[in-house]
């Protein structure tokens, strides 16, 4: 909106173990960046008088549930919004408690950047490893390792370097390209918005400085057009000539760019056609790109419904019923071989059965344990799935939208797993080579 340069949006989340200071850090960021309103500060001060012995508790800004404030822990993700002249931010404060890992995954899944907090006294512990691993699994492009509570270790550079070295031992095992280490005190605000006078040995940016400048321009995938058909748009309007034959395919572009006149393929049928029109409420477009929500019309009148996918011919996706994926298991009842689940992928929902559990990750050393009997709550592993209908998909590493799925337990309808597909072994080979007639 604002004049010439559009304001960029950065989505980030905090993670790490219980009590490492995640909620306090977000409170500090909001407080020191002057993003809090007077009534919010008053509410903080009011609750401090009752429960905090006069000290205000910055974590209360995000710990919005009564049960959270009573116990001083975070249970579910809280989202906060703030802006600086440079960027807009959506922050997800996620819980550190192992029991609520599912909520950490929820908050992290839409982030471009994750801040993993560590308590400088404790160093790297199991939850730090688990959350770092999940951030890598989700392919969050940017990571900040915030070494917090430096005030409690006398601002020791040695301690900072020790913890940093611990991380650097296992980071190469992960898929994270961009990592930044920052020593700070969330409680006192050192290196959060203002540089700290206690850490003359640290030369990098403050946390906010880094959040404002980290390069995020191309986190969307513009290769290989994918439009999962979400809703077939058929106006029930027999008298209007233009609308009588309107047959739109509505959806959000999962990747790539689409142009009027472009040849496309519809899957699973394999029929080809040409894009006749890109329709939007604001007028027709010549081209559209990920992640815009659009409605397209094709030249040919094909049988297409929700769950189908319109794809570009340059990079074809995989298609099949035998899938190989990494999953993060999020339910008390373990994942079992042979059990049926609903699988939701893009706009498609199918029945699925887990045919094998290939491996489980040991979160303490990232070792792979082959063929475990089951995956229990918070386990991460690799599985094979067979679906009742073919999925049209890409590997998660190249396409977040067509490479991800969730598993839903039948009966309770609980969401029990987040799944990330391995790339297809081969691209779809359509049986029709001609255009639809």
């Amino acid at each position: 909106m604002s004049a010439n340069h559009p304001i960029e949006l950065l989505r980030f989340n905090t993670c790490g173990s219980v009590d490492d200071g995640k909620s306090t850090l977000i409170g500090r960021l909001l407080y020191d960046s002057k993003s809090l309103m007077e009534d919010q500060i008053e509410a903080l001060e009011r609750s401090a008088d009752i429960t905090g012995g006069g000290q205000i508790n910055l974590a209360n800004l995000t710990d919005g549930l009564r049960a959270e404030r009573e116990q001083g822990i975070t249970i579910d993700v809280a989202y906060r919004y703030f802006a600086t002249p440079r960027r807009k931010f959506i922050v997800a404060d996620t819980p550190g408690h192992v029991q609520y890992t599912r909520n950490m995954v929820t908050g992290a899944s839409t982030a471009n950047l994750s801040i993993v907090l560590v308590d400088a006294r404790l160093g790297v512990i199991e939850q730090s490893r688990r959350h770092t691993y999940i951030a890598s699994l989700l392919r969050i492009p940017h990571l900040v390792i915030a070494i917090n509570k430096m005030d409690l270790v006398d601002w020791s550079e040695e301690r900072y370097l020790e913890i940093r070295a611990e991380f650097e031992k296992f980071l190469p095992l992960l898929d994270i390209k961009d990592v930044k280490f920052i020593p700070l005190s969330a409680l006192n605000g050192d290196n959060v918005v203002e540089p700290s006078k206690h850490t003359p040995w640290y030369v990098g940016p403050t946390l906010l400085g880094h959040l404002e400048t980290v390069h995020i321009a191309s986190d969307w995938n513009l290769n290989g057009f994918r439009l999962p058909v979400q809703w077939v748009n058929r106006p029930n309007n027999p008298t209007n000539k233009e609308l009588h034959d309107f047959r739109g395919l509505s959806g959000q572009i999962g990747s790539g760019i689409v142009k009027v006149g472009q040849k496309v393929m519809v899957l699973p049928s394999g029929m080809k056609s040409t894009v006749k029109e890109i329709w939007t409420y604001d007028g027709k477009l010549q081209e559209a790109f990920c992640p815009q929500s659009i409605t397209i019309q094709l030249e040919h009148d094909l049988d297409i419904s929700r769950g189908d996918m319109v794809v570009g011919l340059d990079v074809l996706p995989g298609m099949g019923t035998e899938l190989h994926a990494k999953v993060c298991w999020m339910n008390q009842r373990p994942l079992q071989r042979g059990k049926k689940y609903f699988l939701k992928h893009a706009t498609q929902s199918v029945q699925a059965v887990v045919t094998s559990i290939d491996s489980r990750i040991n979160i303490n050393n990232y070792d792979v344990q082959p063929e475990p009997a089951e995956l229990a709550l918070n386990d991460i592993g690799e599985i094979r799935i067979k679906t009742a209908k073919p999925l049209i998909y890409d590997g998660y590493a190249t396409n977040r939208l067509t490479g991800s799925f969730i598993l839903i337990e039948q009966g309770t309808n609980a969401t029990v797993a987040a799944g990330m597909l391995q790339p297809p072994l081969e691209a779809v080979k359509p049986e029709y080579n001609d255009f639809a007639i």
């Binding site: 549930l65 809280a78 899944s109 839409t110 979400q230 058929r234 992640p291 929500s293 609980a414």
Partner: protein, 312 residues
């Protein structure tokens, strides 16, 4: 535009359109909660963007407290008509009359009484999903809510046990009697809403703009003086919401920043007469929009408690 880049409003818009289409595709009987307020005005435009050139494939639903600003109701009806949508209105008055809602002794606000009315309407029309305009930045219990917020057969929200919501793959599955509340504007801020209203040139009820009105001071708020009670055969719906002798009436140039009903909406002292003026005020604001609402001031957990009971 040759750079393939969305600005933040376009990003919020495409996220919301995607959610609305998921609702249309996955639920059998969805409804859209339309009050005439600024957030639900944005919802309507997003519905147009999601579904045109087809009709918006769900009716609009509004729960009336009986304490509404008349300007709001006029606007609501007119806008629904313009869009060719079916508007269903259920009222707290009806619910009190037929016994499904009972006011607590001495309670003036009808905010909580909206809950049984909403749940009644959901049951009456067998709605399996209601789209609402709530935003996470409004309040800290809301800040915890999912886009697809599951409600059990009693309409209750269980904040300690929400479904994980990963990427934008939403789980809309329900068993009999359960339903879903869906909030496409979850990630929008008050500023985003006004910038969107400006960008889309959306009409809003004129009480959002500065006008002269009689108000009185109560509990740190400037409350509007309700319209006179004319129908003597019925009890005064605004009983308790009228100024007492020790609450002098003053005429003031003011507007609303957020609309609840007349009894709990504080007016703000403001000369803003255009959307640009309002955006300027939001940018300079030192209190949140909910800071002007009495219903949220009741306690730290007022919103959480209402939501657990089935509130929007």
């Amino acid at each position: 535009m040759s750079s393939y880049h969305l600005d933040h409003l376009q990003y919020l818009e495409t996220e919301a359109i995607h959610i609305m289409r998921e609702v249309a595709a996955e639920f059998e009987r969805p409804a859209l909660l339309f009050s005439g307020g600024k957030d639900s005005i944005c919802l309507l435009r997003l519905a147009e963007k999601a579904f045109r050139p087809s009709d918006i494939p769900m009716p609009f639903l509004n729960v009336e407290t009986g304490h509404e600003f008349p300007e709001l109701l006029e606007f609501r009806d007119r806008r629904a008509k313009q869009l060719g949508a079916k508007l269903i209105v259920r009222t707290v008055d009806q619910a009190i009359a037929n016994g499904t809602a009972t006011p607590a002794p001495g309670e003036v606000s009808r905010n909580k009484l909206q809950i049984p009315v909403l749940l009644g309407a959901i049951e009456e029309f067998r709605f399996d999903c209601a789209i609402g305009g709530a935003r996470r930045d409004e309040e800290k219990a809301r800040a915890k809510e999912r886009f697809f917020s599951f409600r059990d057969a009693f309409g209750q929200w269980d904040p300690k046990n929400q479904r994980p919501e990963i990427w934008n793959v939403y789980n809309g599955r329900l068993n009999q009697g359960e339903n879903m509340r869906v909030f496409p504007l979850s990630n929008w801020t008050e500023m985003d809403v006004w910038e969107y209203i400006r960008q889309e040139k959306l009409e809003v009820p004129n009480i959002y703009f500065s006008h002269t009105r009689d108000v009185f001071r109560r509990g740190g708020q400037l409350l509007p003086v309700p319209p006179p009670h004319t129908d003597a055969s019925k009890p005064d719906p605004f009983a308790g919401g009228r100024p007492k002798p020790n609450e002098p009436i003053q005429s003031m140039v003011c507007r609303v920043r957020t609309i609840a009903d007349m009894i709990s909406t504080g007016m703000i002292d403001s000369p803003a007469i255009t959307v640009d003026d309002i955006i300027g005020e939001v940018a300079a604001a030192r209190v949140t929009e909910r800071g002007t609402r009495a219903d949220d001031k009741a306690s730290e957990a007022a919103m959480e408690d209402r939501k657990k009971a089935g509130y929007f």
